[in-house]
Symmetry: C2
Subunit: 308 residues, 2 copies
C-alpha cells in the first residue's frame, strides 16, 4: 500500500451538454483524480486551494473517501476557481465559456509533511511552475512522477512545461496535445519524441477511442468501453489518470507490464465518470460495479489466436 | 478449408495523398478483399467485371494468389471502372475526384457453378440490387453472408439496401455510416438497431481507431495497430473485410468467439495495406510478416488483471 500525492484544482464546474445543464457543482482535476484513486488501497492526499465559498460538504465528500485534505488551503474571503463549459452535440468538443481563476491565481502549493515521501506524485493540469514547485518540495524522489497538462500551457508557457516534462516519468496527454508538443502527426513518432524529452512512459488519451501507453519500442492500447449513453465527459481524463496512478500506488510496481494494467483500470473508471454529470457517478461507485466492468474490459479485448 | 465467394469491383484507382500520387493502378473492393483472403487456406473466387483495357498482368496477379477469376467478365471494347481520389493531410478524409462507372454500369454478375455452394459469401460495396442478385444465385444458403456498403447507397437506394441487409449475417460499415443508417449517435445503440434489421453480427470500422464487433449484448474491439507512417488508406476497409471473411472461411466456424479472432486478422492485414500505395504491400506480404504482426496485436491488447 503506497502513498499517492495529488496536486491540482479543486473547483466549481458548470456544464452545459445536449442532455442538460448544471449549476455550480463539485469539479476540478484533483477532485476527479482523487475520487478515482480512492477506489484503490492507498494513502492519498490532495494539495490544492479553494475559497471560503467552497462548501464544507464538498470537502467532507473527499475526506470520507479517505483522502487527506490537509493540503487544501482555504482562503478567507477568497473565491474558488470556477470553470464553465458547453459541449457540442457529439460531446467530442467543447467551448470554455468562463474561466475565473480566483484564488488559483495566487496558489502557492504546500505539500503536507507526511506526504513529502509519497511513492507516486500525480501532477494534475496546472501552471508548470506550480507543478515544478511541488516536485521540489518532495524530500525523496517519488518512485513515479506522473504529469497531466493541456494545450493552454503549450501555447503560453512552453519552456516551463518542457522543464517539468524533463522531471517526470510518465505524461498523460491527449492526441492533439501530443501532436502540438512534437509537431508529429503520427502518434508513434510523437511518443518517441516525448520520451526523448524525459518521460520513459507516454500515455496518449484519445477519449472515446481509448488510450495508448508507449515505452521504448513497446505499445499497449486500452479501448474506451462502448457505452449506450455518454452524458458528460467532464473529468474523464482526470478520472483516467486517477485510476492509472491509484493502481500503481496500490501495487507499488512501475514495470511496463503493471502499467498496462494501470491503463485498463484508468479506462475502466473513466467509463463510469461520463455516465452522469460531474462527480455524481464516481461518488456512488461500488467495488462490485468496478469489478464487473473490468470483466467487460476483458471480454472486450481478449482473444486467443495461436500462431502456427 | 472452405469456399469463399467475393463479389465486388475490380478496378483502376488513381490516388493523390500528401505522400505522392499514382497513375491508374490496380484497385477495386473485390481485389483488396481477394488479396487479403488469399492469406488463408481456402478456395476463393471473384465475381466482377472489367473492360478489355484491363491488363492481363493484373488478372494474373490475382490468379497467382490462387483466386478463381473465371467469374470476372471481360467486356470487349469496354472500359474498366475507374476511381480517382485525393486524401487530405490527415488521411482521415478524402475527396472523390472521378468516378467513371464504365462497364460497371451494365454489370450482370454470374456466379461460377462451382462456387454456388460457397461457405462464405462476401458482398463487396456495390449497388444493393447486384448484391441481392448474387445471393439469389446461390444454390445453398451460405454459412455466412457478409455485406459491405457505403453512405452512397444509403443516400440513393435505401429500400434496396435494407432488403440486402435483411438477408445478411454480418455487415461491415464505418461509424458514420452506422449512424446514418440508424439515426443513432451511440454506436452501441446503432449496432442494436442494425441487428434488428437482420444481421446477427455488426462490425463497425473506425479506421485508425480500430473496429467493433457486436453480437446480442456482447461487444469485441480490435484496435488498429499504431503505425509510424500511413501512406495510403485506399482499400484498408476492404482488406479488413477480406481478412475477416478469409479467416472465417478457413476455419469454417461462425461462433462469436471465432469472429473475434476474425476481426483481429482483419485489423492485422489492414495494417499492412496502408503502408504502401494501392495493392503494393499486400502483393508482397509473407506469412512470416503476418504472424509477427499478429504477435504485436497480442502485445498491444492483452493484459492480466485478476479480479479479487
Amino acid at each position: 500500500m503506497g502513498k499517492l500525492l495529488i496536486v491540482g484544482t479543486v473547483a466549481f464546474d458548470a456544464i452545459e451538454s445536449p442532455f442538460g445543464k448544471t449549476d455550480k457543482i463539485l469539479g476540478g482535476a484533483a477532485t476527479f483524480i482523487g475520487l478515482a484513486a480512492a477506489q484503490f488501497k492507498l494513502d492519498s492526499a490532495i494539495v490544492s486551494i479553494v475559497g471560503d465559498d467552497f462548501p464544507q460538504s464538498y470537502l467532507d465528500l473527499l475526506k470520507n473517501k479517505g483522502i487527506d485534505i490537509s493540503g487544501i488551503e482555504i482562503v478567507k474571503n477568497g473565491k474558488t476557481f470556477f470553470w464553465k463549459g458547453k459541449y457540442h452535440n457529439d460531446l467530442n468538443s467543447r467551448d470554455t465559456l468562463i474561466t475565473d481563476l480566483n484564488v488559483l491565481a495566487d496558489f502557492d502549493p504546500k505539500v503536507p509533511s507526511n506526504f513529502k515521501d509519497a511513492d507516486v506524485l500525480m501532477l494534475g493540469n496546472l501552471h508548470p511552475n506550480l507543478q515544478l514547485n511541488v516536485i521540489q518540495q518532495m524530500e525523496e524522489k517519488p518512485k513515479l512522477i506522473a504529469l497531466d497538462t493541456m494545450n493552454f500551457w503549450m501555447n503560453n508557457t512552453m519552456p516551463e512545461l518542457k522543464e517539468v516534462i524533463r522531471h517526470t516519468d510518465v505524461i498523460t496527454i491527449n492526441d492533439e496535445e501530443a501532436r502540438q508538443l512534437t509537431n508529429e502527426y503520427s502518434l508513434v513518432k510523437a511518443a518517441q519524441k516525448i520520451q526523448a524529452m524525459g518521460p520513459k512512459y507516454v500515455v496518449i488519451k484519445k477519449g472515446e477511442h481509448g488510450a495508448l501507453l508507449f515505452h521504448d519500442d513497446e505499445v499497449f492500447f486500452a479501448p474506451a468501453l462502448p457505452l449506450e449513453e455518454v452524458f458528460d465527459p467532464t473529468g474523464a481524463g482526470d478520472t483516467f489518470a486517477g485510476g492509472f496512478v491509484g493502481y500503481i500506488a496500490e501495487t507499488e510496481n512501475i514495470s511496463f507490464n503493471n502499467l498496462r494494467n494501470a491503463v485498463i483500470h484508468g479506462s475502466n473508471l473513466a467509463s463510469f465518470c461520463v455516465e452522469k454529470f460531474g462527480t455524481e457517478r464516481m461518488l456512488q461507485l461500488t467495488k462490485e460495479e468496478v469489478d464487473r466492468r473490468l470483466d467487460q474490459f476483458k471480454q472486450l479485448t481478449q482473444f486467443d489466436i495461436e500462431l502456427k
